[in-house]
Amino acid sequence: MSDAFEPIIIGFTCNWCSYRAADLAGTARVKYPANIRLIRLMCSGRIDPTFVLKAFASGADGVLITGCHPGECHYIEQNYKALRRYLLLKRSLTQLGIEAGRVKLVWASAAEGVRLADEITKMVEQVKTLGPLNWPKWEGFFDDEIHSLVEIPEEVSA
């Protein structure tokens, strides 16, 4: 099963650097795996942890956050806010049991189509080794025999 596992990764890009890097990768016909699906925001500072949680809750196996390099933000310094949120979010996700490798922050300038493609490729490989996340859809989850009515263990472990 793990041979066939093709993860779905949601990628957030900023309008000025990383989305343009994706455009550039396209124009230059740089190849990368089809597992990534990109969302364009104006700035990585727009990244709300809610979006990342939403992606995982809705079935993504990984989330890639991208933005302009430090010091090169189109909005001067907003990518640093993305960095700060990412670091705290990652700590929270780890505590929730979501492996740190499922979320990644990558800087890519408008000129770095190849770098972005590389990072996407690496991310896909990394999430493939982690396996599917398969967050429950919840609808009917507790009616499902697998998940519901979990027997209390016969004997608690010593």
Binding site: E6, I8, I10, W16, C17, Y19, R20, A22, D23, A25, G26, T27, R29, V30, K31, Y32, P33, A34, R37, L38, I39, R40, L41, M42, C43, G45, R46, I47, D48, T50, F51, K54, A55, A57, S58, G59, A60, C68, G71, E72, H74, Y75, I76, E77, Q78, K81, R85, S109, A110, A111, E112, A117, K137
Partner: protein
């Protein structure tokens, strides 16, 4: 309550259009299958029609959308085609023509992000379905918007007073609009002012440049700020506020007549590393060259005896107009402009880095800029081409191309001008010394008008050409006839053999590099550099002088290596773009803004420090935060930061993005 898949009450009537882009998309994506899937699977969301078409951006493609809007009463449009950076405007305009608010259209990239980067047709097709579903889910939550109109200040700032900046400034000033030129050297003129001849016509550089410099200096619409640097840029297109540091000249330009007596009397000689490329001297008080504009000299504080030792003041004593003022201090000047043109040029590649070529170690290895000065009639040798000893005329000269260019160790790119520069040098050496000249080249690049004819002319003059990358330049003689010479070791790839060619003089045709502080420049003006360090244009083919930042234009070598004609053309082109803006009087900008719901805001002040544009204002009296729409740039950082969810934004709202996530993952939802 986490379910965002259902739309907002009123069901929209959505049209979806999937572009083949010839075979660009259709070659990798089964577009018919995608269109059919959207039609059946997304009907529940309101998709009324889903079509595929050969070229959606063609006029027929646009008409298809317009007709559907009118005939089917569509309220939302999704186009799956190329990057929104290419054609978002095209499809928005089509919607506008059909009387649908342009912001109710979403362009989804299935070319740059799918067909051009993936190879497996099934995967590309499935991903196309997903991203179009993302677009459909998103577009349901779009709001009709109108672009914002901001007035354009008629003044323009030109940064850099080389030939590109000069051209741009003159075009604008001649059209009747004010221009500020900021130049960090004491005079405008740039690299071109250092050259003797220009290829391929062999015009005297000074003869064609000086009149333009004089026009700049005397133009009533041009304010020239030399010996100055931009320190801060605030605002946005139409209304930038720029802070410029005017370094102290110690010369009062109201009194100075440019008589140059001070330069004559100054006792301190300094090697001129910039203008004379280290081959000549200047004084501690100096203008870089006699035709400098402005004519006023500057005192170089580091080398001035008075500033260093406390006595001298020779210049002050001899100045007939009492123009010397040792008390001057740097001052900050603020100017308001509507647009900015960056034309800061290039740095010459430092030939010392190619250590096997011996520059800096072997006396008679010269750089191209040194040779320009050597051959310049106004240069340190009055145009005599001599060896480093100052007297010996070389009998053989080797000119090495591609120094620092097309070389993985240094720069991968071609510096464009070096071949023609090498040919020009060959011609000048031949003409003035009769020496035997060798050119060592990898490929001879003489594109553009009259360039190849010049190459033919140099060939006919008897210059010898060796195709091969020079391996080493050495003074270690091994063979008879090599003593006292510089030996050029090269593989002659046409003859297929190794050669050692002894010469008296070597000229390294050095490449061009971005200014060492290009990244700082980009940061200061909020634009991007390529990995090499050249500033990035908005579109490499169709928008070469604009940048991704509205109101910031680029011209000349700051964008990439260029010869003089192209730099001039870009200077004029950038000016034309700016003129268009000024004459329109205002510009439409994207209505992507944040705003605060005062009912929900409890004045926690989390967002207050997050805006680099100071658009966030806190009202103490009402205990709420507000966003000034005139200053908001739409980055969305405050929206994402608000703990109460009290800030929302147009164009990229939470609901739009969350719905898009649902759409993107629809195929994987069980």
């Amino acid at each position: 309550m986490t379910n965002f898949t259902t739309s907002n009450g009123n069901k929209e009537r959505i049209g979806v259009y999937v572009c083949h882009c010839g075979s660009n998309i259709a070659g990798t994506v089964n577009v018919e299958e995608v269109a059919a899937w959207v039609r059946t699977e997304l009907e529940g969301l309101g998709v009324l029609i889903s079509r595929d078409y050969k070229f959606m951006c063609s006029s027929l493609g646009q008409e298809l959308i317009q007709n559907d809007i009118k005939e089917l009463g569509l309220t939302r449009i999704v186009v799956g085609a190329c990057s929104p950076h290419l054609h978002e405007q095209t499809f928005r305009t089509a919607c506008r023509r059909a009387e649908l608010n342009p912001y109710l259209c979403e362009l989804v990239s299935i070319r740059e992000q799918i067909s051009w980067v993936h190879t497996d047709k099934d995967q590309a097709t499935e991903k196309s379905k997903a991203v179009i579903a993302g677009g459909v889910y998103r577009v349901v939550h779009h709001q009709p918007l109108e672009p914002l109109h901001v007035p354009i200040h008629p003044a323009t700032l030109v940064v850099g007073g080389g030939i590109a900046g000069i051209q741009a400034a003159l075009e604008l000033a001649d059209a009747g609009y004010p221009v500020y030129i900021v130049e960090r050297e004491p005079s405008i003129g740039g690299h071109m002012a250092q050259f003797d001849k220009t290829f391929p016509t062999l015009d005297c550089a000074a003869c064609i440049l000086t009149p333009k410099m004089v026009s700049v200096g005397s133009h009533p619409n041009i304010t020239l700020l030399t010996w100055s640097e931009v320190r801060q840029v605030e605002g946005y297109v139409g209304n930038f506020t720029v802070t410029i540091q005017k370094k102290a000249r110690y010369v009062n330009d109201e009194f100075c007549t440019g008589c140059a007596i001070c330069q004559e009397k100054c006792p301190k000689k300094v090697i001129d590393e910039i203008y004379e490329a280290g081959l000549g001297y200047r004084k501690a008080i100096y203008t870089p060259f006699p035709q400098a504009v402005p004519k006023y000299p500057v005192i170089d504080r580091q080398n001035c005896i008075y500033f260093q030792k406390g006595t001298c003041k020779a210049c002050e004593k001899f100045c007939p107009t009492n123009a010397i003022d040792f008390t001057q201090e740097d001052e900050l000047v603020t100017v308001n402009v509507g647009n900015i043109i960056l034309a800061t040029g290039y740095d010459l590649f430092d030939a010392r880095r190619v250590s096997q070529y011996g520059y800096g170690r072997l006396a008679n290895v010269f750089t191209s800029l040194e040779f320009e000065r050597l051959s310049n009639a106004a240069g340190p040798t009055n145009g005599d081409i001599v060896l480093r000893d100052g007297v010996t005329v070389p009998k053989t000269v080797g000119i090495v191309h591609c120094v620092g260019s097309r070389d993985r160790n240094f720069n991968n790119y071609c510096s464009v001008i070096c071949c023609m520069q090498g040919l020009k040098f060959a011609h000048i050496v031949h003409e003035r010394t009769g020496a035997t000249v060798y050119n060592f080249y990898i490929d001879m690049r003489t594109a553009y008008k009259a360039y190849d004819e010049f190459y033919q002319r140099v060939l006919e003059e008897g210059t010898l050409f060796v195709r091969g990358k020079v391996a080493e330049i050495t003074d270690a003689a091994r063979l008879p006839g090599e003593e006292g010479k510089l030996i050029i070791q090269v593989e002659d790839t046409l003859a297929g053999k190794q050669r050692r060619i002894p010469v008296d003089m070597v000229i390294l045709s050095s490449g061009l590099e971005p200014r060492s502080d290009a990244k700082d420049l980009a940061k200061l003006f909020g634009i991007s550099c390529s990995a090499d360090g050249w500033l990035i244009e908005k579109h490499p083919k169709l928008d070469p002088v604009a940048t991704m930042t509205e109101g910031i234009f680029i011209a000349g070598s700051v964008q990439g290596p260029k010869d003089i004609p192209t730099s001039v053309a870009q200077g004029a082109a950038a000016a034309a773009r700016v003129l268009g803006r000024i004459q329109q009087g205002e510009i439409a900008i994207e209505p992507i803004l944040a705003s605060v719901d005062a009912e929900k805001c409890s004045g926690c002040r989390i967002c207050n420090g997050l805006c680099p544009y100071n658009a966030i204002v806190f009202h103490d009296d009402r205990n709420v935060t507000e966003i000034n729409p005139a200053l908001c740039q739409g980055c969305g950082t405050c929206i994402a930061a608000c703990p109460a969810g009290a800030i929302s934004g147009t164009g990229f709202s939470d609901t739009q993005i969350l719905a898009q996530i649902d759409g993107l993952l629809l195929l994987n939802a069980e």
